[in-house]
């Protein structure tokens, strides 16, 4: 299990003068649910298509199952793809769509039907085998595309935004199903998405990409709690940023000072350069809380409440604080009727030391 199923080394891709992917290094482990997350145009699809063999890298190497993939067409690779528009063959019925790739196996009719039936059951479509490929709803098309790819028993399944065409409710249901399916079949899934919730909720690990580069590869908790940069932090939901001066530093620790937090000492993160002089501290809005009159917290910041937005299960408060140009965003869960806060009132915001994320300035 230690050797990666996919290993990508120094892969770049140019379109004319434009660099869509810039020197990508990436390993994907056997059997994991891996997501490529990033804003539109960052190169996710390009990377996925190069793994699947629909496009060749301009430079660099892609190995799947320890074999170099240079020049191999999609039908010569141990990968299968679920396309964004599903690409269901409109002239074939569901069963023939699902069994399309079985032709090379020269199965007899009974075996063919059994394999297709099994695949349809796995995606919850049994009984729909005779439905025409052009007579399906979005969710059904998605399932057919999944069954059609999984029946090939690929080593890696590639999924390009497979849920983006579905409505919210169906999307959430399919997220759960996809995750469950992946666990059941044990195949490595690589999912492309620009939806951070999708990436966080489904994946074992997430690669966050910007402008043709990979910014961070980590499990969802790490990506969210300990983003590697301001870009990553920003892309994965909101984050408050506080400027801080570096007063002293060594290989292990940094002593920081900021008007908001007072002096604090934080452990140096891997890859955090020495001698920057300044740093940024990130705090997720839900790690801040509004303190009652008698409550205390390890770090307290006073400010003026000037706006709040009610979202049902949470309320977002904006708190203007001296020494920071941006107001602090505080997310409060509406669990047990806390104090009603009016705009303009003085509030004390509290946080734990562990809520602070050390970021480059």
């Amino acid at each position: 299990m230690n050797t990666p199923i996919i290993s990508i080394r120094g892969v770049s891709r140019h379109f004319g003068a434009f660099t869509a992917l810039d020197n990508i290094d990436l390993d994907v482990k056997q059997g994991e649910f891996f997501s490529l997350l990033g804003p539109s145009g960052c190169g996710k699809t390009t990377l996925l298509r190069m793994i699947g063999g629909f496009m060749e890298p301009s430079s660099g190497k892609i190995m799947i199952d320890q074999k170099p993939m240079d020049g191999l067409a999609p039908n010569q690779r141990p990968t299968n793809m679920v396309f964004q528009n599903y690409a269901i063959f409109p002239h074939l019925n569901v069963a023939d769509n699902v069994g399309y790739g079985l032709r090379k196996l020269r199965l007899d009719k009974a075996q063919f039907t059994a394999r297709v039936q099994e695949a349809l059951e796995r995606v919850g479509l049994s009984g729909l085998g005779h439905r025409g490929g052009h007579e399906l709803s979005g969710g059904q098309r998605q399932r057919v595309a999944l069954a059609r790819a999984l029946i090939m028993q690929p080593k890696v399944l590639l999924l390009d935004e497979p849920l983006s065409a579905l409505d919210k409710k169906l999307r959430e249901q399919m997220q759960l199903e996809l995750r469950r399916l992946q666990r059941a079949v044990g195949i490595t899934f690589i999912l492309v998405t620009h939806d951070q919730y999708e990436a966080l909720s489904m994946s074992d690990r997430v690669a966050v990409m910007f402008k043709g580069r990979i910014a961070q590869v980590a499990p969802p908790q790490d990506i969210y709690q300990r983003p590697a940069s301001r870009d990553v932090a920003d892309f994965l939901g909101g984050m408050n940023f506080i400027e801080a001066q570096i007063e002293a530093e060594d290989a292990l620790e940094l002593k920081l000072a900021s008007p908001l937090t007072g002096p604090i000492t934080l452990a140096r993160r891997d890859g955090f350069a020495q001698g920057l002089g300044k740093a940024t501290l990130g705090i997720r809005p839900e790690r801040l809380r509004i303190l009652g009159p008698k409550e205390t917290a390890p770090i307290e910041i006073t400010g003026t409440l000037y706006d709040k937005v009610y979202y049902g299960e949470v309320t977002h408060y904006s708190v203007a604080v001296r020494g920071n140009t941006q107001p602090l965003q505080v997310a409060v869960t509406n669990s047990s009727g806390g104090p009603e806060l009016a705009a303009g009132s003085e509030v004390k915001v509290g946080l734990d030391r562990s809520a602070l994320v050390l970021l480059a300035p």
Binding site: G52, F54, A73, P74, N75, T79, N80, M81, F83, N85, A87, I88, F89, P90, H91, Y100, G101, R103, K104, G132, G133, H134, E135, L136, S137, G138, R141, R148, A149, M152
Partner: protein, 272 residues
């Protein structure tokens, strides 16, 4: 509102006149073909199927018919094959010569056929080829190509490229993909194209007249027969049969096209 009503009745009269002038001669043809009199004129003198029976004893005509069918079949296959290549290139790829290539293929639509016939005749004689059905096919392919390309482009345009990628992804090579995905999906377009070019070739006269040498096609033969007044009713019977055949072909082509369109609407997103 008075003006509106008046306008409308003028329009209606125009429409009726239009239809009468366009289709009356076509209706008269079968009518006279069942008339006993040799001259096509009113009053009708009585019903007969003699002229149709007489068709059976015209070996020269049979020859011409067979020639025409050979030419039309060959033309439709070649024009559709060439048209499919062109339509695929136009819908799938961008290239610098594309506007020029499209222009050149469409040109025969706008050139007088007599010019095409004359220039082909000159070139063929100059190259030292014999005039024959082969040269007729060459001319017919040229004039059918614009129609085939137009029909095929509209059929290929709706073709989703990811279907080809999906087929490759599922293990098929280029030929398997052509056979299992591309052909079935564009088949209605191919059939339309075959029928359209077949029909055009079947009744094309000018080019056939210039290029057929001594192997007459049916229209050329009919033209030759018009010199003999006694043959006129037989020719009209023949014409009526051709009319029925063309209408039949047209209906088939339209049915195929509509069926294909329904099936190709790929996003069945709305059907539950």
């Amino acid at each position: 509102m008075m003006a509106g009503a008046k306008n409308r009745s003028v329009l209606a009269a125009y429409a009726v006149a239009y239809i009468v002038f366009l289709y009356l001669p076509v209706v008269l043809l079968p009518l006279f073909s069942f008339n006993q009199s040799i001259t096509p004129s009113f009053p009708l003198t009585g019903f007969t199927t003699d002229w149709y029976l007489a068709l059976a004893d015209e070996p020269e005509m049979h020859n011409a018919l067979i020639n025409s069918l050979k030419v039309a079949a060959t033309t439709s296959v070649f024009a559709t094959l060439l048209g499919a290549c062109a339509a695929r290139a136009f819908t799938r790829y961008k290239f610098r010569a594309k506007p020029a290539a499209e222009g050149i293929i469409m040109t025969p639509l706008f050139l007088p056929e007599i010019l095409i016939g004359l220039s082909m005749l000159v070139v063929i004689l100059w190259l030292g080829f014999e005039l024959s059905l082969v040269t007729v096919v060459m001319g017919h392919v040229l004039v059918c190509l614009p129609y085939c390309v137009t029909v095929l482009i509209s059929s290929f345009d709706g073709f989703d490229v990811t279907l080809e990628e999906a087929s490759t992804d599922l293990g098929e090579g280029a030929l398997g993909t052509l056979w299992r995905v591309i052909l079935p999906i564009v088949m209605p377009g191919l059939i339309s194209s075959l029928i359209v070019s077949f029909t055009i070739s079947l009744d094309e006269f000018v080019l056939a007249f210039f290029l057929s040498g001594d192997e007459a096609t049916l229209p050329v033969y009919i033209w030759g027969q018009l010199r003999f007044a006694a043959k006129l009713p037989i020719v009209m019977a023949l014409g009526s049969l051709m009319l029925v055949a063309s209408i039949g072909l047209l209906i088939i082509s339209e049915i195929v096209r509509r069926r294909g369109e329904r099936r190709l609407k790929p996003s069945g997103m709305d059907t539950p």
